[in-house]
Amino acid sequence: MDAVLKHELKRIKSSVRSWGILYIIVAIPLGVPLLRGLATKSWEAALPLFLVAVLGPSSLGRYKQDVKNGLIPGIFALPIEPWDIVRARALLSLTISLAVGALNAFVLWYVGRAVGNGGVSITPAIVAAALAGGVGSALISPSVWIKNVGVKMVSAFAMIVALIGSFLFISPLDATLLAWAISALLLGAGALCSINLKKEGIG
């Protein structure tokens, strides 16, 4: 396995072990659609949106921590390119998001059945939602590495939209499309800035 990917995995393990706060960060966006679903009995719509929101805040927190500890930008004196880290984080974010998405789809289906919402099932819409959420999270994650304040603002805005959207959007298709749109926007900004990371006056 790639050394940077292994390193990122160890960081996640270490974070999960020591940062109770991480659970809270994940629990809030998980809880929002659950509450919404309980209120409206429309489970699927929230999935892609809250998944977009899941990893953004945790990555942002980690980025800030890394800057504070001097790991950024010093890490780029090592034989590492920004792209190596972006790629590793994106891959891990995607994997985690998909796993969380699949788990969540199952929980929603189970809870929906328990509360008597017979219409809820693991449909293609839910699978699409989980996929969209996974990709969206993966794309947000590298974008928060960026020093550029504008990109951070866009990330923060996207997360807010995602949370509010959890309550507002009904159609799974709309929600999926929105998640993809946010992801595409952040991908563009993130890719552009990560390429220019060294030119932005690091160090």
Binding site: H7, S14, S15, G70, L71, F76, A77, L78, P79, K198
Partner: protein, 292 residues
């Protein structure tokens, strides 16, 4: 002692660290101006100068953290800014630690080993490095829980994981206890003996001069003079009206640098002879410390 443009150095063999007419500007401010500096295999160059003279920026350029505005920086024949293969040949300690505080000391070294060597370390190797830098008992603790001195020791450990051909050190002694400083001296000497070129910035001249083969004085983003360590130890800043009559390197409108093995008395006599209205004589080392 050699004024910057007074002597052309003749270099033999491969140049490991090479700055050629390097300038660097940030936010409209010129931090380095036309700096040319070279280090050969096995040579240690000590950079000295007041705060803000551009020493650390020069090292960051060598590490590929910054891109020169003009001129070229080559380390082991490659461009450190654009090539991670070039950076793989560089060892470094920066003023701020480059460690992952979320990982243990041992995990940090394992990560660094794989990055530099492209393979996993042999069983026991990391433990032997940890033992050498005096961190065996703390190997399982997160680097974030380490003291400043322990983190610096871990960074010394990173230098022992591979065979750097160029080494850039920015205030490497800061935060280390006397044992740590001796350890660092041993490690750098070992790297030099193995053919690494070293460029170092340090205010701890007591230790740094023991390693240096050459001392370069930087002032205002330029290299002002080259000294042997012995010359540097005997260099004085002489201030007063008429100092331009003295045979030295001009430092300011009323000050020059003079090397005198005989000490202050000889300088005072020379000033008297040349009609200098002497105001102050101070060892260069002390003058640099005073400037910060």
């Amino acid at each position: 002692m050699h004024a910057h443009h007074a002597r052309r150095w003749s270099w033999e063999g491969t140049l490991m660290i090479e700055y050629e007419h390097v300038s660097y500007t940030a936010n409209g401010q010129e931090i380095l101006r036309e700096v040319t500096l070279k280090a050969e295999p096995g040579e240690c160059v000590l950079l000295v100068g007041p705060n803000g003279s551009g020493k650390s920026t020069l090292l960051k350029l060598g590490l590929g953290l910054l891109k020169p505005t003009s001129g070229t920086v080559r380390v082991c024949g490659g461009n450190p800014y654009s090539s991670k293969e070039t950076r793989r040949k560089i060892g470094f300690i920066m003023d701020s630690d480059v460690l992952d505080v979320l990982l243990t000391g041992k995990e940090n070294l394992e990560f660094f080993y794989e990055l530099y060597n492209g393979s996993r370390p042999e069983s026991g190797f990391i433990n032997s490095v940890l033992e050498r830098v005096g961190l065996s008992e703390e190997a399982g603790k997160k680097a974030g829980q380490y003291s400043k001195g322990m983190r610096k020791r871990l960074e010394i450990g990173r230098l022992l994981l591979y065979h750097p051909k160029a080494v850039l050190l920015d205030e490497p002694f800061s935060g280390l206890d006397s044992g740590g400083k001796e350890l660092l001296v041993d490690v750098v000497r070992e790297l030099k003996n193995n053919g690494a070129a070293v460029v170092m910035v340090s205010h701890e001249t007591e230790f740094a001069l023991g390693l240096a083969d050459r001392v370069v004085l930087m002032v205002g983003g330029r290299t002002l003079a080259h000294f042997s360590p012995e010359e540097f130890s005997n260099a004085y800043v002489v201030s007063g009206e008429g100092t331009e009559n003295l045979d030295g390197i001009k430092l300011g409108p009323k000050s020059v640098i003079i090397v005198s093995r005989a000490g202050v008395d000889e300088i005072v006599s020379a000033c008297r002879e040349k009609g200098v209205a002497l105001e102050e004589v101070m060892p260069l080392m002390k003058a640099i410390r005073r400037e910060g």
